[in-house]
């Protein structure tokens, strides 16, 4: 088979998420490329949670609405997801608790009881049933179980085998002759990209969807000698990080909209004091607490304008884990080269979805050293230079007094209110953006995909890349994706959009923030497909919307 989709659902807190990853890893062993969409409510127990696992021959970065298999551990899964079924979809359900017609019922409850297994192992049982039905060999299943389950593996396998034996083979998924790739989340790719470019410290206060970075980096802290800190608040997070930056240690922070609100005063301080910082901003629907565990693209204009005063910043919105890895590393380099705040703008969809990750397809990126003081004369932290970039020295240095300041200051770092000096220092800081913009001309800040001759062009940013690229492939359209959103690559975007007769802006927000930003540069869009219900576009959904707009 070239492609398969399945949905697994159950009560929150009953291991659906872990199971979906395990199924992903099983299908990964068969050479498929993987995508997992995870849908869960903001609570620890109860409520309905589900994942859609999609496996295909080609690399994919979106989910389908229609699934081939429905794995139901409770009645809600069958009742809530009727719409996802096709004529030939197969439902595998716990026949002890779920009423469903036809298909494969596995007496999960009975098996669990007989094997004296824990409730959580109901997942293993249903995965066993699915594997048999999909024609996956027991050996593949066992291997994946052994690699991924550390606790009570034997009893898990026993339960899975009984589920396996209860089911019957209904199709043969087969095996693809291609090497298995690692599967990971966008957050994990961001984390590894930052480490690769020399990250030494990560500081964060838990907030979905950024918390998994905190957890992941904490778990890797010993391996990579990272300092990972969870302080009392987001305000402390960013101030602590600026302390690290002052001392010369490469640092990043992570948060979501509400936490970022608390960081904005210190963001502005970073702009004034020219202390480099990388800010990972995982978007979720607002306003306010909004939908904590769902996805949106509503913080573009916020990230662009946050903080009092005027200062340069870098904003990149990667669209998949490869871009997340590469551009997170680049964001760290840029933050230090230009001594500015650099944003990695993600959303829950990119952050927590699982993708096949091909590190070999990513252009090499190495840690860059920032401009360092040449040790001539008296050190001036804010020396006015042609590029606006002042060479750095770090404490302790016996020949340098290193002063940073949140007030307007002179070159040495001492407070000033002099009008001429005020203007000179403001110009110095803003000049850095000009040089950054120039450097970025050497990078693919705007990417295009699909049929270059198509009259219809889909415009997207961030995690919508995956669904747009695939929809465009199916409908023979072109896609344009600006990756860097500040300094805005207006010229590159203009070139990429040349010849387009109809530009359809696809965004996961209600006000078309990219279109608003583009209009400042005289760039227009012709139609908009906006989705702001917290759920990312599925492939079918977007294709349908495109057809409505195009016809």
């Amino acid at each position: 088979m070239d492609e398969i989709s399945l949905l697994i659902g159950g009560k929150a807190g009953f291991g659906i998420d872990t199971s979906s990853l395990l199924i992903g890893r099983i299908l990964n062993q068969l050479g498929f490329r993987i995508h997992i969409y995870r849908d869960y409510p903001s609570l620890i127990r109860g409520g309905h949670t589900f994942s859609i696992i999609r496996a295909a021959k080609e690399k994919i970065a979106t989910h389908r609405n229609k699934v081939d298999f429905l794995l139901a551990l409770n009645q809600d899964t069958v009742d809530f997801h009727k719409d996802t079924l096709k004529d030939n979809s197969i439902i595998i359900y716990d026949s002890d608790t779920v009423k469903s017609e036809g298909h494969i019922g596995v007496p999960v409850g009975k098996i669990i009881k007989e094997e004296n297994a824990s409730e959580i192992m109901r997942n293993s049982c249903i995965i066993g049933g699915f594997s048999k039905a999909a024609g996956i060999e027991w050996d593949v299943l066992e291997q994946a179980f052994r690699k991924n389950i550390s606790r009570e593996i034997e009893i898990n396998l026993k339960v899975a085998l009984r589920g396996f034996n209860e089911a019957r083979k209904l199709l043969d998924i087969g095996k693809l002759e291609q090497e298995a790739l690692p599967i990971l989340t966008g957050n994990e790719a961001v984390s590894l990209g930052l480490i690769n470019a020399g990250l030494k410290t990560y500081i964060s206060y838990p907030m979905t969807p950024s918390s998994p970075i905190l957890h992941y980096l904490a778990s890797l802290s010993e391996k990579f000698s990272l300092k990972v800190i969870h302080p009392e608040s987001e305000i402390s997070v960013i101030l602590m990080a600026l302390g690290f930056a002052y001392a010369g240690e490469k640092v990043a922070v992570g948060t979501s909209g509400g936490g970022f609100c608390l960081m904005t005063e210190a963001l502005s301080f970073s702009g004034m004091s020219e202390l480099p910082i990388v800010i990972f901003l995982g978007q979720r629907p607002g306003p306010s607490t909004g939908l904590p565990t769902y996805s949106s693209q509503t913080e573009l204009l916020f990230a662009l304008h946050a903080g009092q005063g005027e200062f340069p910043r870098f904003i990149v919105a990667p669209g998949d884990p490869q871009e997340a890895y590469y551009w997170s590393g680049l964001a760290l380099n840029i933050a230090w080269k230009y001594q500015i705040p650099a944003f990695i703008l993600s959303d829950k969809n990119l952050s927590e979805s699982v993708y096949s990750f091909d590190v070999n397809s990513i252009e090499e990126i190495k840690e860059e050293k920032p401009a360092l003081w040449d040790r001539a004369g008296n050190y001036k932290r804010y020396l006015d230079t042609e590029s606006g970039i002042s060479a750095l020295a770090f404490v302790p240095d016996k020949d340098a007094v290193i002063k940073v300041n949140s007030y307007e200051h002179d070159e040495f770092g001492i407070t000033t209110e002099e009008p001429l000096l005020t203007k000179k220092m403001q110009d110095k800081r803003l000049r850095k953006e000009k040089y950054l913009k120039r450097e970025l001309e050497n990078y693919n800040t705007v990417k295009t995909y699909g049929n270059n001759d198509s009259a219809v062009t889909l415009l997207c940013w961030g995690s919508n890349k995956g669904v747009c690229v695939e929809a465009a492939k199916n409908l023979n359209l072109k896609v344009v994706q600006p990756l860097v959103l500040n300094p805005f690559p207006a010229e590159q975007l203009r070139k990429s959009l040349e010849g387009a007769k109809k530009i359809i802006d696809v965004e996961s927000n209600a006000t078309a923030q990219l279109a608003i930003l583009m209009s400042r540069y005289g760039l227009k869009t012709d139609a908009k497909i906006l989705k702001y219900d917290g759920r990312p576009f599925s492939l079918e959904e977007l294709e349908e919307e495109i057809k409505k707009v195009v016809s």
Partner: protein
């Protein structure tokens, strides 16, 4: 950076008679002594917030981090954790750290991180021209409370003792010799140290006479005893008329945050190799 001349070219804009002069002169003297005793001046970082107190970093020719209002302590913690051999000294106001940023103070004490916090406690907002602070007495008539405040002050030393600070002291801006000694001892203390300095604001809350009549130096006080420290700290509650003890209330050596948190670096294997190892686990 020379121990003989720690001044800068910045024009001093504190009011004549401001208690901040005493704090600056005392800290300069303490730093000079510490430099003579072997801690090079470049190993110090001075952190300040926003308020009259904060100008001190413009006036001392040493490494400094002039932060934003209420946010001195997390920056100081970051500097310390990045370079544990540095001596990080925070200058902060009562509005700055007992008010706006009080959560950072509590958590730094809880961590027992090895930084020194000196509070310029004038019990009034000077730079914003005379409003009450967390340590102003009940009924204090400031520009935002012309009929007098309706809340009692906090006793910051009691708060700090309860949250885990391991060095607590009080001085006044009318007692520079005592300040010099306390500052030096606080800086040398391994762990979180806080010195509350009753710093007089001559313009908005001139308390010189009031303090002079009531202060006395702690003698025969066992600063290693928590209960004794608490009793002495409670002798004056920043509100009622009472004798005001000065000196070191509490001093205890306990493990610091950095002792527990900072690990020796692992074997030198390239990041690239290790990333590949991690990715292999994800197949």
């Amino acid at each position: 950076m020379s121990p003989d001349n720690l001044g800068t070219y910045a024009e001093n804009t504190w009011c004549p008679g401001c208690g901040n002069f005493a704090i600056m002169n005392a800290i300069k003297a303490s730093l000079q002594t510490l430099a003579q005793e072997g801690t090079p001046l470049e190993n110090f970082v001075l952190v300040s917030g926003i308020g009259c107190h904060a100008k001190i970093v413009d006036y001392i020719n040493m490494n400094s981090f002039y932060s934003i209002h209420g946010r001195t302590i997390p920056a100081a913690e970051g500097i310390k954790l990045a370079k544990p051999d540095l001596k990080v000294i925070v200058f902060s106001g009562d509005g700055d750290s007992y008010g706006e940023g009080v959560e950072h103070l509590i958590f730094a004490a809880k961590r027992n991180i090895d930084i020194t916090v000196i509070i310029h406690n004038n019990r009034v907002y000077g730079l914003t021209t005379g409003q009450y602070t967390p340590t102003s007495p009940l009924g204090f008539k400031g520009r935002s409370t012309p009929q007098g405040t309706n809340e009692l002050p906090i006793n910051p030393l009691e708060l700090m003792l309860a949250t885990g600070a391991t060095f607590l002291a009080r001085g006044t801006s009318h007692g520079i010799e005592l300040l010099k000694n306390i500052f030096k001892e606080a800086i040398l203390h391994k762990g979180f140290s806080l010195v509350d300095v009753l710093q007089v604001c001559v313009t908005y809350y001139n308390m010189y006479e009031y303090y002079d009549k009531r202060v006395y130096e702690l003698k025969e006080h066992n600063s290693g005893d928590y209960q004794e420290a608490l009793n002495k700290i409670r002798e004056w509650d920043y509100n009622s008329d009472a004798k005001i003890p000065l000196g070191v209330f509490y001093k205890k050596e306990l493990p610091t945050f950095e002792d527990r948190f900072l690990k020796p670096a692992g074997p030198v294997i390239s990041r690239e190799t290790k990333i590949k190892e991690v990715l292999k686990e994800d197949i």
